[in-house]
Symmetry: C2
């Protein structure tokens, strides 16, 4: 007989009266009326084992087992007695009467209960192996696997080929910081771990593979925010000879299929499409959470000549913006909540949060409650009411500052209110899945610090048809064939049509003030490849960690990664990174910079 | 209409009279009777495009195109004229009469013809993108994909879950050299790139994932031999609660399925199994090429008292060995060939290659032709003939030295003769697929230099049942639950049952002279995990690059990797590794060791 004939969690009444051999962990043990009951757990779930005193050997062994002991049991499947059926379990109609019980391995007492939901993340990451035994983590990683398998099946069916690209590659220091790997054979030289396989996938298109994908680790040595990891996983895709529209159709089909097959969720078909300019105008964000039923009203023009200096100043500033955010029913909001929001927007650089409560429109100025109405002339007040569409009982928040601050602050406020108790109560939040394509991104954004244009997406993105001339005449007007897939306020993925002609690529480098020599040094192999009949091509990359985090409802991407790093980029389980031997450094032709560098900061 | 409606290579008579839109590269262009014919190529193959002078625009465009131009063509599928059908092509019955021809991208003249089979590897790797367009490379990488997809389907159907393990992990300097990654956040500390996910997959078993797999990059900073790469890909698998036999059955089933579905090859069922001792005795190798029908005959005992010093010396030496290799029909081998073999075995340290030609057995000593028979007494000669089973016309080669030299030299000679013209002609080579399991490896081998035992497999391998006591009493006698899958002289993969009890793991560390403190420092997290009811588990890892190299018949694993490194661990395409900016090193708290280190050696 095999060590195991069935999974515990899949042992059901279909096996009635059969002898089975089960392996798993003691989830709970209890003595009841002289009989020992063991809930035995494996990855598929629990099953109840009954150890009778009549089976002396079994009973003796059962007496010593404790939680998390690893057991092998053979026994016969029988119906549970009336009244003891547990419909929450797959195996809940049956129990297994043990004939043998073998302790495969004992366990010391775990540092925490597996069903404890209040563990600190430090405890969980230090004892990750036990943490991973918890049902939630089991589910998260199995769902992650299911997602990747559905992705692979979809892409396979559509002719995409998984091709591996190098992990030890060339450092091109721009965008994020590279992780470097010193070379032993080539003294003084370094590999870089890839931030993405962008250039390689383009080369594969030039090399006629036609459709490529890879579920691949990427690396960025950045200071970690809540949802970043030094190494993360991309679903990276590229195709030749498809239009932007065809690519978007293909990949929203993929995401729809994944949600359907992994979670039985029907996403809308098709996904709505919104251009970047509209998204910024209405939501102050290029990844708006469409579940929140609140929109900006742009009041920049209206405020140019009001007495209220904060509004007029912003309205007349270069890159200034004034917006109103109408909150239906918001007039009922207590002052304390408004104060809390004022503090909240300060995080995003807003220096205050003006508001008007619309108590009774018909009364005009007197029906409005606000510290600022006295500094707004009648025409402005009228325009505010007309343009926001405010009704009695509403509240209007205002943002006025540089556009970036307004967008960030009021954009965040919009989401905050939508997700609040209040927002949910008054119907400002539509608790469902609201995907969206955001398209027509600008090619460039102006980097004031560096006094130059930088690429919004990356420098290999193609300009929209007809916009090529702007590359030289007016880069700010140049729109890119770039697209992001957004879901409930998260960017799931993004991509673009790439430049396939060497002369256009050179123009973009010029616009970015990358001179020919630098371009050749960094991207010579791409420019070279484009010369040999490079095909029109494009693609996109999805953040797998993020998709699975959304799908599982996990709080952090660390909950969908088996062995994640902390925000200090450390692995608490293995204690990586760690000191290494001097001999190793010598072989790599490097030394530590200073003695104090040895101290962990 | 889409940019493309069909693949060139899949445009067949099924589409007769339909208008199609095709995209691809000019493989060949020829003018014939005032008509221009273009063989248009995409990843699926070629199709013939006809450009008539009547279509003035098409014809004008067709006149300027050259090899490797990227085109889009719309036209109508029609039968080829009688006598011009090409049965070598999928599309050979039809051609497409072009109505539009658009040059999507021009191409400069490629540095070589895509059908040139005599390109140097330097040329190929420098212009890798064009090299990858060649049909052989297209086939290799598509077969590689097919193999991985078959593997994934098989493992999915058997309940294995793909779980990602970290790329940035802890350096445990033993076995091969680690690639190190300096940490920016933790000054003076380093990550290591994984040599394999061995410990993580064991942790996943302790964490109750039950069945794990990953097709994953691994890294070893070794001096590269012909078939090594700094980064290589493993099919890495692990399972709980299965016996060695069950694991082997499972994975030979996987390999059988892959060969069947990817190449329509039926491998034997079941694979033969041979223990390590037998493999060494008969073939001097733990990965014998079973296609070669030659075996060693051990003559160590026979030679202990002969006059011939070379034989007697080896036979009486500690760890000495004398073997004969009978080559049926080998007496016909000319002296020049024997001399060449003598030089060949010298590579492996053999100081000569004695032989006996058996001309006429019946004549006894006089029927044997050899410089050495005069120093061998009659009883020895008789035993040689009896034990090797030599017949008239055979030749017997001899190896006599330390066992390692004999095994290496005569083992290599065996393969060399088997693969030679002679060997194939006289039927010593069975040109088929001959898989084999080699099992029952020793746990340890004695490292004379270090005067200590080292692990043959790795220190997490379980001893065979009943051999645990040898760990302390006689490590050399201890056999491991380890197994290698061998095919035609290549190790495809290998694995073992792991130690799942902390006390056994400690014993193995003691046998290896790894003290408790060192064990805790390096493997503390594993020892810790084993305490919490670690299940019995085991697994194996296959070398994907090697499997695909064998399946494609490629000469090097570099031919089944899209962007490989040279033997100097460089990427000729991107010029990685390369110098980096001082600022980057500063951020990583390292500096180059010496000014001259900057010079590429």
């Amino acid at each position: 007989m095999s060590m195991r004939t069935h999974y515990c969690g899949l042992t059901t009444e279909a096996l009635l009266d059969q002898t089975v051999s089960l392996c798993g962990w003691v989830h709970r043990r209890r003595d009841h009326g002289g009989v020992i009951f063991i809930d035995l757990r494996d990855r598929e779930g629990l099953v109840q084992i009954v150890c009778n005193p009549e089976e002396a050997e079994v009973f003796k062994n059962a007496e010593v087992v404790r939680n998390e002991f690893c057991l092998r049991i053979t026994g016969v499947v029988r119906n549970r007695p009336d009244g003891t059926v547990n419909n929450n379990l797959n195996s809940g109609k049956i129990e297994v009467l043990a004939h043998t019980l073998e302790v495969l391995n004992a366990s010391v007492t775990p540092p925490f209960q597996l069903d404890d939901d209040n563990l600190s993340e430090t405890t969980r990451l230090t004892h990750r192996v036990l943490d991973l035994r918890r049902p939630q983590m089991q589910n998260n990683l199995r769902l992650r696997y299911k997602v990747t398998m559905e992705v692979r099946k979809f892409l396979d069916a559509n002719g995409f080929i998984d091709i591996e690209t190098p992990m030890l590659t060339k450092s091109t220091p721009e965008g994020a910081r590279d992780y470097l790997v010193p070379s032993r054979v080539n003294a003084g030289h370094f590999f870089a771990l890839p931030q993405s396989p962008q250039l390689f996938k383009q080369l594969l298109m030039v090399a006629n593979f036609d459709r490529y994908y890879q579920i691949v680790k990427c690396f960025r040595d950045e200071d970690l925010r809540a949802d970043r990891q030094p190494e993360f996983t991309q679903i990276d895709c590229e195709t030749s000879f498809m239009s932007e529209q065809e690519i978007r159709d293909m990949f929203e089909g993929m995401i729809r299929l994944v949600f359907k097959n992994a979670l039985d969720i029907d996403l809308p078909n098709p996904f709505p499409v919104m251009d970047f300019a509209t998204a910024m105008a209405l939501y102050g964000s290029d990844k708006p959470d469409m579940r929140v039923k609140l929109e900006f009203t742009d009041l920049t023009e209206v405020m140019k000549d009001v007495d209220f200096k904060v509004f007029a100043g912003a309205a007349n500033m270069e890159n200034g913006r004034v917006v109103g955010l109408r909150v239906p029913g918001g007039a009922a909001m207590p002052r304390s909540e408004i104060d809390a929001y004022t503090q909240f927007v300060a995080i995003y650089g807003a220096r205050g949060l003006a508001y008007i409560k619309v108590n009774e429109k018909a009364k005009g100025r007197d029906g409005l409650q606000s510290p600022i109405v006295k500094n707004l002339h009648d025409a402005a007040l009228t325009q505010i009411l007309v343009q926001t569409g405010a009704e009695d009982g509403d509240l209007i928040f205002f943002g006025a500052d540089k556009a970036k601050i307004v967008n960030d602050a009021i954009g965040a406020l919009r989401v905050k209110i939508g997700h609040s108790e209040f927002g949910k109560k008054v119907g400002l939040f539509d608790d469902t899945w609201r995907p969206l394509w955001v398209v027509d991104f600008p090619m460039f954004e102006y980097d004031e610090a560096g006094d130059r244009w930088s690429a919004c997406h990356h420098p290999f993105t193609a300009p929209k048809d007809g916009h090529e001339d702007y590359l030289e005449t007016d880069p700010g007007k140049c729109i890119a064939k770039a697209y992001d897939m957004v879901l409930n306020g998260w960017e799931l993925g993004g991509g673009s049509i790439r430049i396939h002609r060497a002369e256009v690529q050179s123009k973009v480098f010029r616009a970015l003030k990358i001179d020919a020599e630098e371009a050749q040094l960094k991207f010579g192999f791409l420019l070279d490849a484009l010369q040999y009949g490079a095909p029109p091509h494009g693609g996109l990359a999805f953040g797998l960690d993020r998709i699975v985090t959304m799908m599982t409802g996990a709080e952090s991407i660390r909950d969908v990664i088996a062995f994640p790093k902390t925000q200090r980029a450390q692995c608490l389980l293995t204690q990586a990174p760690s000191a290494v031997e001097e001999k190793q450094l010598k072989e790599l032709h490097i030394r530590l910079r200073a003695p104090e560098a040895k101290v962990v900061s």
